[in-house]
Symmetry: C3
Subunit: 100 residues, 3 copies
């Protein structure tokens, strides 16, 4: 599972569409209107963002990172991956069948 955040719903959909249409991700959940408090260039910021939760296979990670980096309009986009432990056999199969 990979996470990134973006600054608008448009950016969220552009990235999610690209990942799913290129068969790099099986599914992207977009969580709207989160509030992000973070430190950047020595200042603390408080902005509205959208959180993307990207589900794919582990060997698609580098292609996911490449796609996000190309499309993202931040200087340093968040791209973090978290290990999955278990999953239902049908859902894991569906992920495999939905990506390259």
């Amino acid at each position: 599972m990979v996470m990134t955040t973006v600054g608008s719903e448009e950016q969220a959909v552009v990235i999610a569409d690209a990942l799913v249409n290129k068969k790099v991700a099986a599914c992207v959940n977009i969580i709207p209107s989160i509030r992000s408090i973070y430190r950047f260039k020595g200042k603390v910021w408080d902005d509205e963002e959208y959180l993307l939760i990207i589900k794919s296979t582990e060997n698609n990670y580098s292609e996911i990172e490449k796609t996000i980096t190309e499309l993202h309009n931040y200087e340093i986009p968040e791209i973090l991956s978290f290990p999955m432990e278990k999953g239902s056999r049908n859902f894991l199969n569906w992920i495999e069948e939905s990506v390259l």
Copy 2:
């Protein structure tokens, strides 16, 4: 921690109630109105969903999967688990005491 997504708040509450009342999960967070872009049967879909974040002990995973599979109205429900690394002693104890 286990994640699933459903298509309505009713489904979210039915599943969350069942997991907590059966003492299979200590807590379920329901994140409303997420936007999910995913591939299914050769087409890309763009639907509103609800994301459930289920907190329990690891040995409850198969009972969680069984309960979700029984109650869920999707053909292939998402059921993924993620390993927890650390937690506050009091909270971990509370999870243990809240489940079978």
Copy 3:
């Protein structure tokens, strides 16, 4: 990545501000208006909460736990950490530079 939940946006911002200003976390995402169904003191509750997703380095975990425990108004606050697997080099560097 550390997760906690709170009962109001004020509490969310108090904790997020403290973590980022003390350089204990680089970024905190606040997901508003989630619905939490959980067991506490023998009863099942159904409350509105805010979910905090805290991004920092692993060696900051105990300071994060200490800060949340000091500021949180729950008897037993949720404090759980999840292992990160990979991340973009630039973003991981940014996290390192943003915390002590």
